[in-house]
Symmetry: C2
Subunit: 248 residues, 2 copies
Amino acid sequence: MNFAIKLSYLGTNYSGWQLQPNVPTIQGAMQNAVKKIFCKELTVHGCSRTDAGVHAMEYVCSVFDAPSFDAKKIPLALNTYLPCDISVSSAVSVPEDFHPRFSALKKEYIYKIYNSRIRDPFSVDRAYMYKRPLDEIKCREIASQFVGTFDFASFMAAGSTVTDTVRTIYSFDAWREGNEVFFKVCGDGFLYNMVRIMVGTIINSCEGKITQSIGDIISAKDRTLAGQTMPACGLYLNKVFYDNNYFE
Amino acid sequence: MNFAIKLSYLGTNYSGWQLQPNVPTIQGAMQNAVKKIFCKELTVHGCSRTDAGVHAMEYVCSVFDAPSFDAKKIPLALNTYLPCDISVSSAVSVPEDFHPRFSALKKEYIYKIYNSRIRDPFSVDRAYMYKRPLDEIKCREIASQFVGTFDFASFMAAGSTVTDTVRTIYSFDAWREGNEVFFKVCGDGFLYNMVRIMVGTIINSCEGKITQSIGDIISAKDRTLAGQTMPACGLYLNKVFYDNNYFE
């Protein structure tokens, strides 16, 4: 059987999703737990390689050719064997052609900033602390300039080997809730560090450190014109969209 | 000069407020930071001894006979020398007779429960995970029975040496926000573990494990009739009230 599994995790103590030797990873923790409940070594395929320290609200992964199992019982069974900073919320049987990464139509990320002169102990590792006043209305206006289909080469981390750098951003919003400023961006896919560089560019534009328009920076296809890469701690993979609502 | 200092902290990594040898404490961290900015060893007096793992939103402490210092500059100065899970939000000059503990008129605590079959990675160490359905309407009804002036000996941890066990509870509310259930209690003072035992008694009553009324348990002055002591991780010292609004 093939199962799609939805989970959330606090990424602070992990070197990202992808399995690597000698460091804790989400994929590694999932594969350990999957082995316990299916009594079989199975590869757990992820929807995205999240970086070290990045969090996820509704991450989707899958296992292929798993032994028969009641999908409804998978969450509590896996949670028994997972550390408490990873939690499986649901699991469903999916068709053979489902792949959490290749079947994904859209992905949504949230970037969270704690904006106050005084830091918040409860937001450490869960939001980026930004002390100067941040104008969320201006942030939203700049964010909206990313919406559309463009070559986002300027917003890809240097060293990435991806050659097709055209992506579509469907929406990019920013708003404030008390001292917290949120960015939410939805696209058909994202280049390496793209969300963190886009948010960094918005912040640097608000600060006056960047004066070129987003359109001009996109056109230039030059990473050096875009802003800083924001720290991982504020980034959340929020949701992944498929053509079927498998989880409903 | 005498200063009152307001701070918040995530208590997870501390053995409570009170200074003890060889373990991290909030008081110890504060005294280290105070020494750095005043260039003098000073005792930092707290409003309450919070237990290991208990958090605080608006804790109040004070220093007596400190060298002259611009109170407005104290928060950022102290935060420079404090670990990131402790944060000073404000400081004011106070009269000589102010004491954060003895001048306190009321204290308010919040107890936070994450109530879902599926645990939440973001609430670990910040709320108590409770899997069975919890009826917050019933919780509120039971909580309201604690309001008044009573001898709360039944709700004091065994072994405490306090002899005057009469306290006044001004309000005790419970409500739900999504999967989170909150308890908020305000009183003129609390016995050792009293908030955690009161919340445990409410939960055990909802579960049917306790059938006696709160009034009967109070009257009995018998700790064995009250409920379990809830874990420290869900408890927050929320606010301390004084006759003057020193911080406004």
